[in-house]
């Protein structure tokens, strides 16, 4: 790899670290420096002044914000997020288990949706402005217009409740075999696939169409190659970089979709953990979970950019 390319990648990595730090500041500030007292918010309006004073002490709210932030950040980097306010459980331990579950779910959704989206995107380009293309466009308009939980419940109602093909609740634990686990997460995976498929299809279609307008595609067509050969041999290799970018961005989108889908199917992952503790106003847990979601999102975006840099042939040979 040429030096200036490595330099570009290092630059992007440094920006990523900076963004991670800044987002941790935002999440911390969002929960700490908002109007109103955190201890008051946790305990509610009816709390006695003593109880509030005790909780303030316990949460370390009497220290200045900067030192609290640094303490929290250094703890978080080492995997120590402190204890939950509601039940005193170690947050790091609860998260590591749930994070695994969430990644398991997201991984299978990605494994199914990525090839499917690229295939459908290719078909849409191949039959541009004919009925397959229109069908793909209409489908993506419909899924973009519908919130995740609607797709989730429609599937649950018809597939799990009416047809009884799969359970409506996705319980998962260590004693289950892989097949049992897969059967258990089938429905959430299908829903997540639907959620990201539309975006991915549209963006893949746009990326390939963009390449199709290049002069070398015209040359290939004039050579008399079949339309399919033009797409697979000439357009696809050149659209790999934009497509990888599309995939990464949608995986980042998946991270957010997973929150809602986990709540629908009562799946023991990070999303449900976050939502539960927002309702309980358990701020240390919300901070920890929020930081992890934001980090995954930022890292995936960074990966998309770096792959884009490495895959761009124009950057490989400096002028």
């Amino acid at each position: 790899m040429p030096t200036h390319l490595i330099l570009l990648v290092i630059q992007r990595l440094a920006l990523g670290v900076l963004l991670l730090l800044a987002s941790s500041v935002l999440i911390f500030a969002g929960t700490q420096i908002l109007p109103g007292d955190v201890a008051q918010a946790v305990l509610g309006q009816a709390a006695t002044p003593e109880a509030i004073a005790n909780l303030r002490e316990e949460m370390g709210l009497n220290e200045p914000a900067v030192s609290r932030y640094l303490k929290w950040l250094f703890g978080a980097v080492q995997g120590d997020f402190g204890n939950a306010l509601t039940n005193g459980a170690d947050i790091g331990a609860s998260i590591s288990k749930r994070l695994g579950n969430t990644l398991f779910l997201a991984l299978w959704a990605a494994v199914i949706s990525v090839p499917l989206a690229i295939l459908l995107g290719l078909i849409a380009v191949r039959f541009r402005n004919r009925w397959p293309d229109r069908l793909v466009s209409a489908m993506s308009l419909a899924t973009i217009s519908v919130p995740e939980f609607v797709i989730g419940y429609v599937f649950m109602f018809f597939v799990a409740v009416k047809l009884r093909w799969v359970p409506s609740v996705s319980m998962i634990n260590d004693s289950m075999s892989l097949m049992q686990k897969l059967q258990s997460i089938a429905l959430p995976v299908i829903v997540l696939t639907f959620v990201v498929l539309a975006h991915m299809m549209r963006m893949t279609r746009a990326a390939i169409l963009n390449v199709m307008e290049s002069p070398y595609i015209e040359t290939a067509e004039l050579k008399g190659l079949s339309r399919f050969a033009v797409i697979t041999r000439h357009a696809l290799p050149n659209s790999i970089a934009p497509i990888v970018n599309v995939v990464m961005l949608n995986l980042a989108y998946l991270v957010v979709g997973v929150v809602v889908v986990e709540v629908i199917f009562v799946y023991p992952g990070m999303g449900q953990y976050l939502v539960d503790h927002v309702a309980k106003r358990d701020i240390p847990v919300v901070q920890a979970a929020g930081l992890i979601f934001a980090s995954v999102y930022i890292l995936l975006n960074m990966a998309a950019d770096i792959i884009g840099i490495v895959a761009n042939p124009r950057l490989r040979h400096p002028k």
């Binding site: 963004l19 800044a22 987002s23 935002l26 999440i27 969002g30 929960t31 908002l34 109007p35 109103g36 955190v38 918010a41 308009l141 419909a142 973009i144 217009s145 519908v146 919130p147 995740e148 939980f149 609607v150 419940y153 429609v154 649950m156 109602f157 409740v161 009416k162 409506s168 980042a252 991270v255 957010v256 929150v259 809602v260 709540v263 629908i264 976050l274 939502v275 503790h277 927002v278 309702a279 106003r281 358990d282 701020i283 919300v286 901070q287 929020g290 979601f293 934001a294 999102y297 930022i298 975006n301």
Partner: protein, 273 residues
């Protein structure tokens, strides 16, 4: 001049008018009171209760109509907030340029590195939930997206000759933003308005569905899904009614937005050609 409206946009407009009149005239249309228990739990559809009853025996149609009111009100108010703030900030940033533009744009970039839903959840864990707070929170978070679009549009307009002319004749920043750039940036922004509105409807529905948005005694479509979701397992489709309503509203706004977008782009093409 006659205007030809395509069928899809016409359907979208009709549906939108239907939903908005539901929202405005909710107390006049709704057959029962919003919290009135009028029957058994999850009664099926009947002449008395067109959509059946909900999880504690309230008329589902009534709940849906009041839900439309809350959903549409919150989404509209948040859209207006994000639009006004985002556009004004973006246009001012472009016109003032220099470090103002730089600082604002980087700050917006920073906010956008955290997924909107996650950010909203973090904030909602601390602040008390009320309709006003929801509107402000959603509006502020979405300001980032409006800002980006408006800035991109305004950068192009800012270098036009007529803006330069206004500067040379000594107009102030306010004049340039409001009288020179804003009117010319409006048409692409209006098309975006529809998409932002849908996003707000989906956003508030999701928050309410998670139990972190609209709280009783008020209700919105997301909250109705939440209240009735247990019924689904027993084969009672009450929770699907608001789901269908959200989807219908979103699709009809999309159809109208598509039409506006096509109209404004063809307008631009005509002028440049």
């Amino acid at each position: 001049m006659t205007m030809r409206i395509p069928v899809s946009a016409l359907i979208g407009l009709t549906m939108m008018a239907f939903f908005f009149s539901l929202a405005v005239f909710a107390p006049l249309i709704a057959p029962y009171g919003i919290g009135e228990v009028v029957g058994d739990v999850w009664e099926p559809m009947s002449a008395k209760h067109w959509l059946g009853t909900d999880n504690i025996g309230r008329d589902l149609l009534t709940r849906m109509i009041y839900g439309a009111r809350t959903t549409i009100f919150i989404a509209s108010a948040a859209t207006v907030l994000s639009f006004t703030l985002g556009t004004l900030l973006a246009l001012s940033a472009v016109v003032l340029g220099g470090w103002v533009d730089m600082a604002l744009s980087r700050f917006i970039d920073l906010i956008m590195t955290i997924p909107t839903l996650i950010f909203a959840l973090v904030v909602l864990s601390v602040v008390p939930t009320s309709i006003l707070i929801l509107i402000v929170l959603m509006g502020l978070l979405d300001t980032t997206r409006v800002y980006r679009l408006a800035r991109a549009v305004a950068v192009d307009i800012n270098v036009m000759d007529y803006v330069e002319a206004a500067r040379l004749r000594g107009e102030g920043t306010r004049w340039i933003v409001l009288r020179e750039i804003l009117p010319n940036a409006l048409s692409p922004l209006v098309a975006e308005l529809g998409l932002r509105f849908i996003f707000m409807v989906l956003f508030i529905s999701t928050l309410s569905f998670l139990g972190l948005g609209v709280l009783p005694p008020d209700t919105d479509w997301g909250a109705i899904v939440k209240e009735n979701k247990e019924g689904l397992v027993y084969g009672i489709p009450a929770a699907l009614a608001p789901a269908v309503a959200i989807a219908t509203l979103a699709i009809s706004v999309n159809l109208v937005a598509d039409w506006v977008l096509n109209r404004t782009t063809s307008l631009k093409g005509g002028r440049n050609a």
